[in-house]
Amino acid sequence: MSPTDPLAPEPADAIIAAPLLTARGIRKSFGDVEVLKSIDLTVPRGNVVALIGPSGSGKTTVLRSLNGLEVPEAGTVEFSGGDVVDYSRNPTKRQLASLRDRSAMVFQQFNLFPHRTVLENVIEGPVQVQKRPKAEAIADARALLERVGLGAKADAYPFELSGGQQQRVGIVRALALKPQLLLFDEPTSALDPELVGDVLDVIRELATEGWTMVLVTHELTFASHVADTIVFMDGGVVVESGPPSEVLQNPREARTKQFLHRLLDR
């Protein structure tokens, strides 16, 4: 987890703006409805990219296209040093697996395994998939749980935890895979307001450590603090993207202004 860990991502300033992930021309339809209309997304190594936009604008679908949970009709996704996965040419299972090997996802609904303890949830990927020695995986898992304040909950079952605790386990489960990229889909939207802070604190800390992340969120204040780039989507297109100081403080596009106004009015 620390920047000296060889598996941890390199600090943002080491390779300035070198993209870890490049997605181009992502198109996706559900039935007759074109939900994504040629989306481009570049995620520099060590950066945090926040996807914002009204509900139904396609944020989740973009995120899921980056790890093959959704298979778009067209577009490419490429990790630096990896294969170009071309969705228009029926990507193989191995190609989709390579996207998932490099990334890990945190879900809005947590999606913890209810029949396994917190510790078992966290070591499942490292032990069963990555074939790491179990003792080592357990030691790592305990250290990570300790860091997010859940050291004492290792042997609890998910149903015994609050939503905020479950989501922190979700984050730890993702971190335990030592991925190059973390994907968050509205990680705090299912939480009671008083539990949001703890989860955001964890994500903020990861950002500071230099993890590369794509984060779908409605927490604009939070996004303006942690994100290097804000991508505003509406109706399946990227309307505007840039640093928070531009997109959130001085938006160029009318649709962005409208969206920000509506959120601020509430």
Binding site: F113, H115, Y157
Partner: protein, 222 residues
């Protein structure tokens, strides 16, 4: 009731309970175990995206559910010999009952697999698991818990249905009662006695079922 009728009931209890212990219960347990294996295979075939595979499973389930168990039993024991395949009573009964359980339980297991939230599959994929790995390590354990109530019902029905095996000469609870009844001519008393023994077995099974359900209920994703 005369003294001798009580005597008869008491004396016949041993062979009837013996028939349950050496016939009914092992027959039900063995057929259920084999039936579950068949059912899991058929349920997975039914969920396959390859239409021919799911089609075969569909036809199998349809035949099993659309024909009487007694007829299935007779086809195997009395029908197969006429095309040169002789099967003894016990194996016939086990084949028929496990194929039958396979058809009914397949639908239960399929529904249980489908009841596990899609997010569980996705969580498995995003930690790098394959479809098969996710099925075995994430989905089936949760499906198993959901299936306990309906599968318990299937098992209790099976225990009662094993009485049909008496018609292909398997010595089990009901056949014992029949033989004593025929010999003593006390039909009413003996058949009621047999009914009571079935009832007691099923009462025990239902209370075991509710204990099991309470213990498993907690860890299911809602």
């Amino acid at each position: 009731m005369t003294e001798s009728l009580w005597d008869l009931l008491l004396r016949s209890l041993l062979p009837i309970v013996g028939g349950a212990l050496t016939g009914t219960i092992p027959l039900a347990l063995l057929s259920f175990a084999l039936g579950l294996v068949i059912a899991l295979g058929v349920a997975l075939m039914r969920l396959s995206r390859i239409w021919i595979v799911s089609g075969i499973a569909r036809v199998y389930i349809s035949i099993i559910r659309g024909t009487p168990l007694l007829v299935q039993l007779f086809v195997i024991f009395y029908g197969l010999p006429s095309i040169g395949v002789l099967v003894d009573p016990w194996p016939s009964a086990i084949i028929a009952f496990s194929l039958n359980v396979g058809g009914y339980a397949a639908e239960v297991i399929r529904a249980a697999i489908l009841s596990v939230p899609k997010g569980q599959w996705e969580a498995g994929y995003t930690i790098g698991m394959s479809r098969g790995q996710t099925l075995v390590r994430v989905i089936l354990p949760q499906a198993a818990r959901v299936s306990v109530p309906p599968l318990s019902n299937t098992f209790i029905s099976l225990v009662k249905d094993t009485s049909l095996a008496s018609l292909i000469l398997v010595t089990e609870l009901f056949r014992q009662a029949q033989q004593i009844a025929a010999f003593s001519q006390e039909f009413m008393a003996l058949y009621i006695e047999a009914a009571v023994v079935y009832w007691v077995i099923c009462l025990v099974l239902s209370s075991a079922q509710s204990v099991l359900e309470k213990r498993l209920d907690r860890y299911v994703a809602h």
